[in-house]
């Protein structure tokens, strides 16, 4: 049902419809372009977004890890330096108890500076808990330093008595405290790392969800778009096919029409020619005979009447002649009376008589019983070609050869005239030739170069050979 309605539409296209549909298709093109551009934009956007998110996340992760590592390292450095400080202090105190001058002297200033440096190099971010703990470390250290400074005022006996007490009561608890605080810092660090990792995971899940949505959205849009486009293309294709069929049918009809036109033209010419020739011509011929008789009845002396009769005679003769010429032009009776070759020879002589072109006719095996269609086709073709050769190409010599072989008859007209460009210059005459030859299932070939003459060649199948 839609196909037939489509057909009707394409058949009865109004002139304005073309521009309308053109506008329509342009608009459609714009829509499609926008849709595809949008889809592409979505794809790029989604891809970029995903890429950036992933990169950002991995940056954050690296940063988190780096931070944890730096904090841990700095903490270790502090812990180690404090440990060395305490150790050396303890040993120096113990040593001082036994022998005054032992190997390594304890250098509290340098060690203390080391610890301070380590403490200072601890990253100072905006973590208040951590900073507090670090401050506490500093306090513990200061206590220790102060405690150690107090030992310097001790005498040797003081030293023996108080060293162990000092170590037990001051140094060890302080060290424990120190270790505890650093443990807390380390825990805090670890906790922070865990927190940040969790945040990262949440972020990652978010990004994943976003990418998923993006993919779903793009995919849906793409599917929709391709569905619409596909349907539209199918519709276009069907329309195109229908239009092409209509075109083919139209061309067929046109061909049939033009063939019929030629046929009717030929029939009409034939009948007018016969009418002119047989009726008008013969009547005038009879008139001439009667006028002759009349002139015999009039006494030779009567000049006035004889003059009148002669005048009537010459008028009638002129009429006969012009009617004969007309009839010949419309349809040469020799085609019917004498056959194809004599008719062509007659035409050749006519052209030779009227123009500067000499025409030679060569024929081989041409049957006298060719069908009327073939005779007329060849005759008209030669007529047209001779006309072209003598009037347009100003040829001096033209050769016409008609050769009949098994199942085929070929005609070739070649001249030595000005020639033409067969690709470009195709007049109505040549179109007519083509039309005639095609109608009988034959082929027409034109060959010419400007300045080098022209050749028209037609080959026609002989239907009699086929049907026999």
């Amino acid at each position: 049902m839609p196909a037939s309605s489509q057909k009707n539409i394409s058949r009865t296209r109004a002139p304005g419809e073309d521009s309308q549909s053109e506008e329509h298709s342009r608009q459609l093109g714009r829509i499609l372009f926008a849709a595809f551009a949008g889809l592409l934009f979505l794809l790029i956007l989604g891809g970029l977004n995903a890429l950036l998110s992933v990169r950002k996340l991995s940056g954050i992760e690296q940063e988190v890890n780096r931070r944890f590592v730096t904090h841990s390292q700095a903490l270790s450095a502090i812990v180690i330096s404090v440990h060395v400080y305490d150790d050396q202090m303890e040993q120096s105190l113990l040593r001082g108890q036994k022998t005054a001058d032992s190997a390594k002297p304890f250098d509290p200033v340098t060690r203390s500076a080391e610890i301070h440096a380590a403490l200072l190099s601890y990253p100072s971010d905006e973590e208040p808990d951590e900073q507090l703990l670090v401050q506490e470390l500093l306090q513990v250290l200061t206590q220790q330093e102060n405690a150690f400074a107090a030992t310097s005022s001790w005498g040797p006996e003081d030293r023996d008595k108080r060293t162990h007490l000092f170590i037990g009561e001051q140094l060890i608890p302080q060290r424990m405290r120190f270790l505890q605080v650093s443990q807390e810092i380390s825990l805090l660090n670890r906790k922070k790392l865990g927190e940040e990792k969790t945040a990262l995971d949440v972020n990652f899940v978010n990004v994943q969800t976003r990418i998923q949505w993006m993919v779903i959205l793009t995919l849906t849009a793409g599917i929709l778009l391709s569905l619409v486009t596909g349907l539209y293309i199918l519709r276009l294709e069907r329309q195109g096919r229908l239009r092409y069929q209509a075109l083919l049918r139209g061309r067929e009809e046109l061909e049939g029409l033009s063939a019929r036109l030629l046929e009717v033209q030929e029939e009409e010419r034939h009948s007018i020619s016969r009418e002119l020739h047989d009726e008008v011509g013969q009547t005038l011929g009879a008139l001439l005979v009667d006028v002759g008789q009349l002139s015999k009845l009039v006494p030779p002396g009567d000049r006035a009447i004889h003059g009148q009769i002669d005048s009537i005679k010459s008028v009638a003769e002129r009429a006969v002649k012009s009617i004969r010429d007309m009839a010949l032009l419309l349809r040469p009776p020799m085609l019917d009376d004498l056959g194809l070759v004599p008719a062509l020879e007659w035409q050749a002589r006519e052209v030779s008589r009227r123009s500067e072109t000499e025409v030679e006719i060569v024929s081989e095996n041409v049957s006298e019983k060719l069908s009327d269609e073939i005779k007329v086709c060849i005759y008209r073709l030669v007529q047209e070609a001779l006309n072209n050769a003598s009037t347009h190409a100003a040829a001096k010599n033209v050769k016409v050869s008609v050769i009949q072989a098994a199942g085929e008859i070929s005609v070739e007209v070649s001249d030595d005239g000005r020639g033409f460009e067969p690709e470009r210059q195709r007049g109505m005459g040549i179109l007519g030739m083509e039309e005639r030859v095609k109608r009988l299932g034959g082929t027409l070939a034109l060959q010419s170069t400007p300045g080098k003459g022209a050749t028209v060649k037609a080959e026609l199948p002989l239907p009699s050979a086929k049907s026999l």
């Binding site: 020739h277 047989d278 011509g281 013969q282 009547t283 011929g285 009879a286 001439l288 005979v289 009667d290 006028v291 002759g292 008789q293 015999k296 003769e317 006969v320 002649k321 004969r324 009776p333 020799m334 019917d336 009376d337 004498l338 004599p342 008719a343 020879e345 007659w346 002589r349 030779s352 008589r353 000499e358």
Partner: protein, 216 residues
Amino acid sequence: MKKIRILLADDHQLMRKGLRLMLEQQPDLAVAGEAGDGREAVALAKSLKPDVVVMDIGMPNLNGIEAAQQITQSHPEIAVVMLSMHSDESYVLRVLKAGAKGYLLKDSAEADLIKAVHAVAGGKSFFSPAISKILLDDYVRKLKRSGSEDAYDLLTPREREILQLIAEGKSNKDVANLLNLSVYTVETHRSNIMEKLHLRGVPELILYAVRKGIIS
């Protein structure tokens, strides 16, 4: 004196009427019958056995050419004068091939018909003077454009004599008698003439003679 009996064949009654009027004014001519088409002409020629058939070239059913051919084939003694509107060589040659003895243009029928009937009844050929002129013009023009020479100059006086006699409708035997030659010699001359002039058959020879004004 025995009258020359004539059969008129023309599909136009007016034309037949005019021709009959013209012919019957002559004391030695009599119209034996009238035919309206080619087939009737052939039938009447067989039954009436006229001396001369005056026939139009274009007729329904059977055209003049075909009718002339049938009549001269079955009755060679009947002379046919063809009436035609066409002065072209193709027609003249075709009519000659059909066995007609005279070719008369309709324009000049009124002036030459009596002469033509008398000529063909006497065994001679007759062609409208205009025909000879047109044929000659075509011939001369062709010779001039192709630059070739008229082969007529190649003929010996004896050959020219024989050419004329044959063109006038004489048989080899008649020619031999007239010129005191053997039939064999005449035949040899005849084939020489044909070869020199590139002619095929008597109709072309007659046409050539008409063209050259050797006969009229």
